[in-house]
């Protein structure tokens, strides 16, 4: 019974964890400019993330070490500096974007300009991390994040054409604006496969004291949670395709994205959108800043746990405190949250090889995983994800220049 409880909780957590500022913004942009056509990219991103989370969760449950621990231990400090710096820079940008997302939600709700909200949001996040334990962060925000189901309701109310959507789940080439199409595709992948997601998930497996007994929970959580979460992102894309595309509206401000739900659901839709933006971005803020503090603490061997009082892991708790304030700065200075989101999603996509390729080595290490090493289907999937990540690395900058405008 307890296991079923854990299972349900895990799936809910993943749904809440998937949808955040990046996936909302990039899905809305994709739907507005290319209709259903980019749905296949969301499917690809969702399946890739599900695979990566299943593997890092399995690695943690069997080896009793997090992915960050093993990046340092198995590849040495000289190599570890590379993912450390890449993930750190990328995550700081994404963290700032999430704080921007929460701030925009509050601006929509109150009329007070978003930049005034950045510091209060950082302080509220800090207070939750300071006083709360891992379960509160993981489950509290995820449960509230279920309000994101309003995206699915919005899409259904608008009666999407299912056969067209079905066809869009297979890759296709654009008929116009090729650079823009691939730019948004890369942004969607960056939003779907953020390294913080699997670093947080892997540390969470240790916080929740997972063992080999939890491997089935891990598999179901990673696959179903992400498929449901990805489904909501596809719903956002479908809604944007039906609301924005016919009116030829290009999304370049968050306020426009609010129309996504206001059009099918009226005033309640607007309220649901603001709530979804606030809760999912706030949840992601907590997860990202924890993932960054975990990465530092695990990489350098400090004491760490969100379940310990801050005085017991001073460097860990100082890290999340400083990082929250640091990430709030661009928003305080008035940087446009949507531009920041777009840049950080592309940079995220470019950073993927340094965390995806080492996983291939670790998942085939019998000393760590014993009989739970990857089989050939998982290895094949990982090779495909690694190849995609290399393409993203090479294509990100040119596409930012050609299609980012």
């Amino acid at each position: 019974m307890k296991k079923w409880g854990e299972l349900a909780l895990g799936v809910v957590t993943s749904i809440g964890g998937f949808l955040e500022v990046g996936s909302i913004a990039t899905s809305a942009q994709g739907g507005a400019e290319f209709g259903y056509q980019l749905a296949w990219v969301l499917l690809l991103g969702t399946l890739s993330l599900a695979m990566l989370m299943e593997m890092t969760g399995r690695l943690a449950a069997v080896s009793k070490r997090t992915y960050a621990d093993l990046l340092r231990e198995r590849f040495g400090y000289r190599f570890f500096v590379l993912p450390l710096v890449a993930v750190f820079v990328v995550s700081l940008l994404v963290l700032a974007s999430e704080i921007g997302g929460v701030a925009i939600a509050l601006q929509m709700a109150t009329g007070v300009a978003f930049r005034w909200w950045a510091i209060p949001i950082a302080l509220l996040g800090w207070l939750l991390l300071w006083r709360g334990n891992f379960s509160i962060v993981e489950q509290g925000t995820a449960m509230l994040g279920l309000v994101a189901i309003s995206f699915a309701v919005g899409a259904l109310v608008l009666h999407p054409t299912w056969p067209t959507l079905g066809r869009a789940l297979l890759p296709s080439l654009p008929s116009h604006d090729r650079a823009r199409y691939w730019y948004i595709a890369i942004s969607i992948l960056g939003a779907s496969i953020s390294p913080y997601l699997y670093l947080f998930y892997s540390a969470g497996a240790i916080e929740d004291e997972w063992t080999i007994e939890h491997l089935s929970v891990n598999r179901v959580t990673a696959v179903f949670g992400n498929v449901f979460g990805g489904g909501l992102a596809i719903a956002a894309l479908v809604t944007a395709a039906l609301v924005f595309a016919p009116r030829e509206i290009k999304v370049d401000r968050y306020e426009q994205i609010a129309l996504l739900l206001a059009t099918p659901l009226g005033r309640a839709g607007f309220v649901f959108f603001v709530m979804t933006l606030f809760i999912t971005c706030f949840g992601a803020t907590l997860e990202i800043v924890l993932a960054m503090a975990y990465l530092l603490a695990q990489g350098f061997g400090w004491n760490w746990s969100e379940n310990l009082k801050p005085g017991k892991d001073a460097r860990f708790s100082t890290s999340y405190t400083v990082l929250l304030l640091l990430a709030a700065l661009p928003i305080v200075l008035g940087m446009d949250p949507l531009s920041l989101t777009n840049i950080s999603m592309v940079v995220t996509a470019a950073s993927l090889p340094v965390t995806v390729i080492p996983l291939f080595v670790l998942m085939n290490d019998g000393d760590l995983l014993d009989t739970h090493v990857n089989g050939w289907p998982s290895n094949l999937a990982l090779v495909v994800i690694a190849l995609i990540s290399i393409v993203l690395l090479v294509a990100a900058l040119p596409l930012q220049l050609l299609g980012g405008g």
Partner: protein, 126 residues
């Protein structure tokens, strides 16, 4: 009994003290060379400079620049005799009290000066 690969199973491994508290990772191992005696692994080094040196001179220069920025002249590194190792497994346990290690200077300074004065910081578990 069996052989242990230093580069694979010892360097960069998580260190815990005799109270099972995490106290850093093995950043460097020193081999002692004495006339007439075979070389032996003598010392575990825990510290930022040792780590930085492994990456390259540029990283060491960055490390020193950061220290200078915060007005720190001396490096807080720990040199622990390899003989203090009690167990080599997923973590390496050494028979020392982590609180006495110089490499834990920042942890203690932050805990006493910055973190613990804030309400809700003290105690064991949340």
């Amino acid at each position: 009994m069996g052989a242990v690969q230093l580069s694979h199973e010892v360097i960069d491994t998580q260190l815990v003290d005799r109270h099972q508290e995490k106290i850093g990772r093995i950043d460097e191992l020193l081999i002692e060379l004495e006339d007439g005696k075979p070389p032996r692994v003598a010392t575990i080094v825990i510290g930022g400079a040792a780590r930085a040196r492994r990456v390259g001179r540029w990283m060491l220069a960055c490390h020193r620049a950061v220290h200078a920025l915060f007005g720190q002249r001396e490096e807080h590194a720990s040199h622990v005799p390899f003989g203090a190792v009690r167990c080599i497994a997923d973590t390496i346990e050494i028979d020392v009290d982590g609180d006495t290690l110089d490499s834990m200077h920042l942890e203690h300074w932050l805990a006493t000066r910055v973190i613990c004065p804030i309400p809700g910081a003290s105690g064991e578990r949340k």
